[in-house]
């Protein structure tokens, strides 16, 4: 919680050690769609009431969205609305949002989940059809515009879906599901290929 004292942790020596993220760098493509595993990013699961939203927004440098299914982005950092008091904050520039939240005294809960999630980019004109092979939501541009995000399902796995461009999506899944999700998307990609 916010009021817990922040202890300085000793830097873990990584000399000679190599971090191997799940599925690192894998990609696949077919006509009209590509599926790419994205590089690691900093992520937090953030929960806080309406009273804490302003202070948290200020600390994170972006306005935490209030409207369902919307996200806010600034530079390489994005905040995704997941529930009425819950957000997923993703920072692709390597600046830890957990450190920013530690300075906030308003009541909130911020949990680092950088290594829990693996992100997959699905891009191309057939991206929508690829995802709809396993995601039951309506992903047409009218209902799921650019910047829209939602926690939903893909096949048997839970994912967080974010539309980054008209024909591009970011799929966030749990690390242990990443193999399944990537294989599923590969199969779906072949079917959806124009």
């Amino acid at each position: 919680m916010a009021r817990a004292p922040v202890k300085k942790q000793a830097v873990v020596k990584t000399d000679g050690a190599e971090r191997r993220p799940a599925l690192a760098g894998q990609e696949a493509s077919a006509t009209g769609v590509s599926v790419t595993v994205l590089p690691p990013a900093e992520r937090i699961s953030l929960r806080g009431s309406e009273a804490s939203r302003a202070a948290l927004s200020k600390a994170l440098g972006l306005t935490l969205p209030q409207t369902p299914k919307t996200s806010a982005a600034k530079g390489k950092r994005a905040a995704l609305w997941l529930g009425p008091d819950e957000w997923l904050v993703i920072d692709e520039a390597g600046k830890d949002p957990l450190a920013d939240c530690a300075k906030v005294s308003a009541l909130h809960s911020a949990v680092g989940i950088s290594h829990r999630n693996v992100a997959v980019a699905v891009a191309g004109p057939a991206a929508e059809a690829t995802l709809n092979a396993g995601c039951p939501q309506d992903l047409s541009l009218a209902v799921f515009p650019v910047g829209a995000c939602s926690r939903t399902v893909l096949g048997k796995a839970e994912i967080v879906l974010l539309r980054t461009a008209q024909d591009a999506f970011r799929v966030e899944c749990w690390r242990s599901f990443s193999d399944y999700v990537f294989t599923f998307l590969q199969e779906a990609m072949r079917d959806a290929a124009a």
Binding site: P68, P136, Q137, R151, V153
Partner: protein, 98 residues
């Protein structure tokens, strides 16, 4: 596939994102120690199981993760309406079109 309106997401979502969580408006006694065995049994085990309109708790587990209440017809499996958790049982139900 059924489409269920989540009162928190303010939108109809596919049923795969939801999970049923039993009957709604089952009130736990504030004087649990004074409750007789019969009353406790009725509170804990006995559910109305009607043929027709039922008030249920549902959870948007693969969405906003919130619990909410839904009014459903057990015969047609049609959702009559949904409302937020903590809100009172609706006094009047909207008319359901065919």
């Amino acid at each position: 596939m059924l489409l269920i309106r989540c009162p928190y997401c303010e939108e109809e979502r596919p049923e795969l994102e939801f999970r049923n969580a039993g009957e709604a408006h089952v009130v736990r006694s504030s004087e649990m120690t004074a409750t007789s065995d019969e009353d406790f049994e009725a509170f804990f085990f006995i559910r109305s199981n009607p043929k027709g309109i039922i008030y249920e708790r549902w959870r948007h587990i693969h969405g906003c993760a919130r619990f909410f209440n839904a009014v459903r017809d057990t015969v047609t499996d049609r959702f009559v309406m949904t409302y937020k958790a903590g809100e009172k049982k609706p006094a009047r139900l909207p008319k359901v079109g065919k």
